[in-house]
Symmetry: C2
Subunit: 247 residues, 2 copies
């Protein structure tokens, strides 16, 4: 719907208490009132609360989450590109993934108060809290802002209300030496083909052990083990860094 039209419709529609509360919250979080309130109503609706509509579509925030995830990725990519004009792609990719990952988005979603807004099935609370309920809602909110106010405003929102206040990029860079990113950077600099592969999983009751293998230009390098794929890869990357004598 055209923005002007949807604003008119919104004016003449009777607001419930819940609507008013959502409008106030969005104004605080986003820095601007909704044009099209329906987008935000959808953004805070978890799929556990979804009804299937007459077109067979589940009405939940999942579509907005898909869109917001992509838009957020582009905005953060742009921000890091411009903030670090002398850093290579491997570095930018790594820092972006430390900002835009499930865990950090989930924490951020909670910090900005999405836990107060998101609607989900209370009976599934425990199951959901382990997943990325708030992070998913945050992505959906970014999708809603993008559709409601366009890319430029959305960039302003993401940077000024989310990234800059809540992430200390220098701290992110300093924090735990990421062996995998080190070796990715190295391989790009040296024009080598780098591949990580999970070559084995041992499962015993609760415990699983993954084995990761690093290949450089299709030559097998070190293997590493760990309780998750990520940990196994880090371990293999660390050993490879040692072999290559990367600090």
């Amino acid at each position: 719907m055209h923005r002007g039209v949807s604003r008119l419709v919104n004016i003449f529609r009777k607001r419930t208490k819940k609507d008013k509360r959502l409008i106030t919250a969005i104004k605080t979080i986003v820095g601007s009132k909704p044009f099209n309130l329906q987008l935000y109503q959808l953004a805070v609706k978890h799929s556990s609360m979804a009804r299937v509509n007459s077109r067979g579509l589940k009405e939940s925030n999942e579509r907005l989450e898909y869109l917001g995830d992509a838009v957020l990725g582009a905005i953060v990519a742009d921000y890091l590109f411009k903030t670090f004009p002398f850093k290579e792609e491997g570095f930018l990719t790594e820092i972006r993934s430390r900002i835009v990952n499930r865990e950090s988005l989930n924490t951020l979603g909670r910090k900005i108060g999405l836990n107060q807004l998101v609607e989900y099935d209370q009976n599934k609370k425990n199951a959901l809290s382990h997943k990325s309920l708030y992070g998913d809602t945050l992505e959906a909110l970014v999708g809603a802002v993008y559709l409601d106010k366009g890319y430029r405003f959305c960039t302003k929102f993401v940077l000024e209300k989310l990234i800059i206040p809540y992430f200390d990029i220098n701290e992110i860079i300093r924090s735990n030496p990421n062996w995998k990113s080190k070796i990715i950077e190295w391989s790009q600099k040296e024009n080598k083909d780098l591949k990580f592969e999970i070559v084995g999983v041992k499962a015993e009751k609760q415990h699983r052990e993954f084995t990761a293998q690093v290949y450089i230009d299709d030559e097998p390098m070190a293997t590493g083990v760990g309780a998750s794929k990520k940990k196994a890869e880090q371990n293999a990357a660390q050993k490879t860094c040692e072999i290559l004598k990367l600090e």
Copy 2:
């Protein structure tokens, strides 16, 4: 640099033949002349041709490729979101990955003539042609257009010059039943947790065989095998679809 300033600088800088050829090519491909020619010069410079500058940065299209990849992802996500208002996230994600993947971008890059523009080390031609030389250049070009002309113009470029002329979306949807996407859609509809895992690799000389395992809500379902991870996953997904009686 400010656009106006960089345009002035461009006017007073002497154009080489190569510059003029690039400007003409960009005008044809993008539909508009470069403001900042340097961005496009960088976009067509493969890392095999890169010199390391005084800041220790390799001057190649890799940073632009990182940016263009993210921007392209957002633009295509938006396009599919609006084109298919009644389709769920799993469908949109799947169709996007069929458009924006290494192979299809590489083909597209060649079709629009980037093979005539990209500068790379001729000695490495064979090694490079197997990789995604043209696809990477295409992403870098999207990054350059985005920086040079902004998100709105870049969207117009991507849709009108790349996606709409070169992809038949209905054909993409119809083509080969993708078992993995079927099961992803199903799991989203049913609110199930779905996981694919490569649980084994057998390597014998030239031949490798991967084993993939499907988990639904952490319960192991079918396993599948194949000569690549993707094929093993498809095979496991197909068997799982049969178990679940998804058409």
